[in-house]
Each structure stands twice: as C-alpha cells, then as structure tokens.
C-alpha cells in the first residue's frame, strides 16, 4: 500500500504546485472520465520559440488523476511543444513510479490525454493519444 500511494502522489495531490488557470493562455483543453467523475483542465502559455513558458491544471478527482496532472505540468515547463507531443503512457508511469491496473491507468492518463488534445489542437480527446 505504501508503495502504491508513494509519498509523491499523496504529496502532489495534497499540495499541488501547478493547480490553477492561466489567463490569458495560448492552449486550453478539458476532458473528463465519466466513469469516476475525474475532470482535468489544462492551460498553457507558449513562448516565441514554441516552448512551454508556463502551465496550470485544474480539476477534481482521485489522487492519481490530480497528482499526475501536477507532475505532468511540472515536467513540461520549458520544453518545446514537439517534445511534449512525444510524451507517452510510460513517461507518466515513470513519474508516478507505481504500477497501475487498467481502471486506474485511465485516471493516470487523463491529464496527458487532455494535454495532447490541446497541443495538437484537436476537437476531441481520444484514448489513442495515450496508447
């Protein structure tokens, strides 16, 4: 149990560093996981070189969905969008440092899905973005 809910997760859940909303912003997207009510919204500012200047997430849901959103934003600030597009499921799992079953995986990947849909400028987020 302790390894599943590693301190980082509880910590980022309880004390998120990047919770909020950037206004104005260059990129915005939101989506939810209807099965459990998880909801994530992401706003980003992009600098002149196409890099992420700043980012925030907002939302509600389980510790895994919220903590992974916070970790994700933390990890992309300063990165070029081209690099953000390449982020994969495995990157998220590495950040969380835990193993997850199929149901919780959806919680963990919600923020990545939202991020990618925003960065690609899609109308709808799809599970294929995070395969």
């Amino acid at each position: 149990m302790e390894d599943l809910y590693r301190e980082t997760i509880i910590d980022h859940y309880k004390n998120p560093q990047y919770r909020g909303r950037l206004d104005p912003h260059d990129i915005y997207f939101e989506d939810d996981n209807p099965l459990c009510g998880d909801h994530i919204e992401i706003t980003l500012r992009i600098d002149g070189d196409g890099k992420v200047a700043d980012g925030r997430f907002d939302g509600k849901g389980c510790a895994i969905s919220q903590a992974s959103a916070d970790l994700l934003i933390e990890s992309i600030i300063g990165k070029p969008l081209e690099e953000v597009k390449k982020l994969s499921k495995q990157d998220i799992l590495d950040m969380l440092g835990i193993e997850l079953g199929p149901v919780r995986l959806k919680c963990a990947l919600l923020s990545l899905k939202v991020l990618k849909a925003g960065v690609y400028g899609l109308g709808e987020a799809s599970d294929e973005l995070v395969e």
């Binding site: 809910y5 509880i10 099965l35 009510g37 849901g61 149901v103």
Partner: protein, 408 residues
Amino acid sequence: MSLDLPRIRRDFPILSREIRPGVPLVYLDSTATTQKPLSVLQAMEDFYRRSNANIHRGVHTLAEEATALYEQARSKVARFINAPGAAQVIFTRNATESINLVAYTWGRANLAKGDLVILTEMEHHSNLVPWHMLAAERGVDLAFVPVTPDGLLDLDVYRSLLARAPKLAAFTHMSNVLGTINPVGEMTRLAHEAGALVLVDGAQSVPHLPVDVQALDVDFLAFSAHKMLGPTGIGALYGRKSLLEQMPPFLGGGDMIKTVHLTGFTPNSIPHKFEAGTSAIAEAVGFGAAVDYLAEIGMDAVAAHEQEIIAYALERLEEIPGLKVFGPPAEKKGGVAAFTLEGVHPHDVAQILDGSGVAVRAGHHCAQPLHEKFDIPATTRASFYLYSIKEEVDKLVEGLYQVKKLFG
C-alpha cells in the same frame, strides 16, 4: 439457524488465497459477482470430463445425459424461485439479457408511441438502457419513481404514476447500491390493479433472499447465476406462461424452431422458443449446482446471516468520522454498504484497501442516475454474502482508518 461459517468458507477455495505474500484476500465485492463453491466447479468439471455433448437433438448416450443434466438444471432453478413449471424458466446469458429479451419481444409487440413504462431512479443500467432504446425507437414514455433521501422508493409517486395507465412497471427487488429491498409484492399488486404488467430485476434479490414468484405474483423476473454462486455466462428469465407463449421469439437459429423452410419458420414451444443456438450447457449444470448449494443452506438462513453482517458493518462504518453510508437502515436492506469518505476519492479508497487485501468496488456501480440523484460521482461499495464474516468487516474498517491517516 446460524451458518456454519468455517465449513462454508472451506467450500470456497479462493477465500484462502493471498493477494500478495502474507496478505490474505478479504472479498467484499459479492454484489458485483460471487465466489464459487467447489460443488459448482466440480459439477462443471464432471460435465466436461464425462457427459459433454450438444443437447436436445442427440440420440447417443452423451447427448442424452447432457440433455437430462441441462433440463434438470432448469427444473432446479424453477423450483428455487417456486415457478409453477420448468418451461417458464428461460436460460439467458445474464440478468441483462433477460431484461433485453422482454424489451425486444414483449416490448416491441406490445408497446407503441405514448405508452408508459414505469421505472425507478435506483435501477441498474440493465433495467434502464433497454427501455431507453425502446423509447428512442418507438416513442414509448418512461417515468421514474423517485428515491427518497433515505434511499427508499417514493410509493406515493409510484401510485400516482400508476394512475396514468402504464403498460409495464419494471423495478429492482434490491438495489445494488443502497441495498434497499423494495416491497415487490405490494408494488406488484398495485401495478396489476392498474392494469400494468410487472418485471422485477431480481439480480440482487434471488441470490440473497427467499424469492417466490407465485407469492409475489410478478410477471417477469430476471437474474444472473454468477451473482448466486454459479458460473458466468448464464442467467435466467422467469415469465408467466401465457405471456411467454404469446411473445414472439427473440434470437433466431437452431433449437428455437419447430420447422424451418427456405420460405420461413415456425417457432418451438417454450422455453426453447427463446433459446437459440447451442446453450450454455455446462454453465446450466453449474447453475443447478449453485441453487442446490443455496437451497441446502436455506435462503432464510442466508438472509438472516446477511442481516447480521450488514447490521454490524453499518455500526462499525458509521463510527468513522467523515464516512457516509447511503441507503436505509440495516432492517430495510441487504448486505450492501455504499459510502463516501470525506476528502478521499472512492477510487483511492478502493485502491488503498486493496493494498491490505480488502476487495471493494468503487464507481457508480452501473447506477449512474442514482449517483446523480445524490450528487456524487462515485461511491465505494462493500458487499457481503453467505461466506462473509465479521472479521472481514473489521479489516475493512481498519483499512479505512489507514486511508484517513494517509490522506489526513
């Protein structure tokens, strides 16, 4: 009348499993599906090792044995719910298919635009979506009996809906979230007086309570084997004989026909009319063994045991600060406790409990409208069965305190 629990628990091999080394399983998810006693596994294994053959058309010994075993299983299930005849029990895949069968056959033959079907706000998706589909296709109207804050059906509204001359009232006998046991006999009497037929979703009641279709006088009853010690892949629909006989067939194919020509077919008599293609034969045999097991213990004893467990569970759970159990008090419900814990998402609760071997479910439990009613996205649900013991409730409570500590 109290159960011999050590003996019962020995009948269920999975209950001695360790989830991880040193962490024994505490299975509190029987509302989703139940564990299987050895006698059920043995019956199916024996079937495959000795008598496996296709049924109904065979002359050889195996085919005759298999047919006899399959039809015996039907008789056992019929006796278990006190159906007047075995032909009134149709084997389906699960309770969901049983309800769909009625919606597709009786529904499409008898319901037209503007006809009213009464449902309730506490229905499982299985007793909502088939009617949504019919509403979209045919313009059938749906009305919902509300759930009161303490998790009961509002019977005044039910009565007033009945005054609108509905064709059918379809409701659950026991809620899989609130645990509420609805007054099916009374509700059926009222519906019949209003000229409506009654379909009861017995997915949670048939496994946990004595259910007598003649005493309750219901027209249809749907239930699943996997929720009552039996295998996956099989369920049943009980129907009133005259209704089943009049209903058009559902799926077309082998066994459900009397004759087939290039130009058309004539349907078989009940129950075969509704069983197209090769049936879940081994599963029927397992289902029969499951009702044997339950009948031997006695459904009164099963229900009494669950009453004891749920009363204890509610008492222990309600002592936890920030924990809220949904549904009525123990006397009015079966062995289900769905709850929220302030500040912690149900998924996190369930996952942390899993860390100490406690298996509970988190989500909307296929009753999303009910959760919307209570304005919560999800609950954590612990549920009990004849093999559940108080020590398991204690482990649950212990686990919940750990959750609180982690998130504190």
